[in-house]
Structures are given as structure tokens and as C-alpha cells.
Amino acid sequence: MRFGVVVFPGSNCDADCYYVIKEVLAQEVYYVWHQETDLSPYDCVVLPGGFSYGDYLRCGAIARFSPVMESVRGFAAAGGLVIGICNGFQILAEAGLLPGALLRNTTLRFICRYVDLRVENTGTPWTNSVDRKVLRIPIAHNEGNFVADEETLDRLNREGRVLLRYSDPEGNITAEANPNGAAQNIAGIASENFNVLGLMPHPERCSEDILGHTDGLTIWRSVVNHFERGN
């Protein structure tokens, strides 16, 4: 399986994603500069975390008009796998490839710590290899407060498109377990056809034993598994 990791000016999790895909998952991976427009070599496109364009105006607002994003739109429309992590999620939301928006955390603080996440749907390209109810994955963001109108939230729930919710370690969805004020504790959502995933937590930061946690690997393994089953 061949991955493309997009690099925007200000991306800072690109090298971590690249490393995990290459060294831990043992898959083919290439960097894709934001000025590039040919995504045809890739089976999965990764929009990594960071502060693209300095987060100027709104997080992701300027990156979404990068030349590569027009190609990401076409790639996703054709069913290609796209994962946006943290700033990548913000870019996907700004681009309208995922519904809703990500506002400033209600705490007004940048939050960088492990969170517990209840996995809400394991029948997706991103979660099919998740073998436990709750994943422990770190977040690191200032704008992760997911908002959407009631109708959109209802639709996401009805269609099983909320994949991850902030929970306590037992999987209970509580206000205390919500780090950033996100509507209904939502931490990750998928597109209508489930081929696009946006999530605030960083699976690439917990995919190796030496880092203390490997729960992130279950997400990466899921997408490889999905690809291999389909081909």
C-alpha cells in the first residue's frame, strides 16, 4: 500500500506519520508538497497535524486553497482514502470535505495530553482492526472544539459516522471526559462513504512500544487491512 503524506508550510507531524507508515507499518510512503497536484500514485493521502500557514485567519482556512487540496477533493470524490489528523481535520472541515468546524477549546488553553476515546463504529476502513472499546491516544491542539448544527449532528449519529468520542477509561461519555468542549464529545468523524476521516487525536504519536502506547497503531493497521482486503 502506498501512502502520500502532504506537507504544508507549517505542518509539523508529517515526519512522525511518514516514520510510522514506513518503519512500523512497513508500507511505501512519500511526502507530497502542497504545490503538487498528482495524487494518482497513492492509495491513502495523509493530511498531518501542525500549524499550516501559521493558523492565520482560521486553522486550515488558507491551506484548503493549496493546489494539492483541489486534488484531494477529486481523490476523495473518487473514493480514495484520506485521513486528516488534528490540523489535517481542520483543513478537511474548512474544505467542506467533512461537515462542521473546529473552534477554540472552551478552556482557552492548548491541551497536550493523552485522552480516552470510545470507538463508536468498527465497521469502517479506519477502525476495522480496533480490538478494544476504548483507545488511549494523545491530543495536542488549541482548536478542537467540534461544532455542527443539530441536523448535521443527528445525521452523523444516524449514519454511524462518529467514529471516536472523548470518554472516561471505561468508555462512559461524560462532560468531565470532554477536554475541549466538542459537541457530543466528538473526536473523530468520517465522510458519507467513510473514505475520509478527520480526527483530533494523534495516532502517529502512539504507534510504537518505546513511546509507551500503541493504540494508534490499531487505526493505521485498519486502513492497511481495509486496503489489502479490497485488493
Binding site: 482556512a61 462542521g100 473552534l103 455542527a148
Partner: protein, 80 residues
């Protein structure tokens, strides 16, 4: 032509920054302040003088880039 653009959080969208400033104003004794909403003020210098055309273009700029219609309202006016 100079155009001033005002962008504010949509009604109903929580504005944590505004809430923090509201709390601070209250603690300073300005208890008459009922609400605070914090937005952005953008000044554009545009070439071209046809007001109708300028309005149409700025409207487009606002809805495509300057504001996110999911969470923000905008308005603009010519002049500083």
C-alpha cells in the same frame, strides 16, 4: 477603495474568548456588561471604483475565505 469587513461568531456559537473577557469585565466591576462577542476586523484596500462590483467581489471573498459561514457572520462597509 477601502472596505471594512467585520466578522463575528454566529449567534448560538459559543465564543470562549468572549466569555473569558466578559468574566474579566465583571471582576473589574463592569457588571452592566451582559455579553461579549469577539470577532475580527479586516481592512481591504481595493482597486476599482464601481461600488456594485466591489460589493459583489467582497461578498464572494467573505464567503469563500474571510469568514466560515458555519460558525461566523460577516458584514462589510465601504470607507474606513
Amino acid at each position: 477603495m477601502r472596505v471594512s469587513v467585520y466578522i463575528t461568531p454566529k449567534a448560538g456559537v459559543l465564543d470562549p474568548q468572549g466569555q473569558a473577557v466578559l468574566g474579566s469585565l465583571h471582576s473589574l466591576g463592569y457588571t452592566e456588561v451582559a455579553d461579549v462577542r469577539i470577532g475580527k476586523y479586516i481592512v481591504l484596500e481595493l482597486e476599482g471604483a464601481d461600488p456594485a462590483q466591489v460589493e459583489a467581489r467582497v461578498q464572494e471573498m467573505c464567503s469563500r475565505l474571510l469568514a466560515n459561514p458555519i460558525i461566523e457572520d460577516f458584514r462589510f462597509e465601504a470607507g474606513s
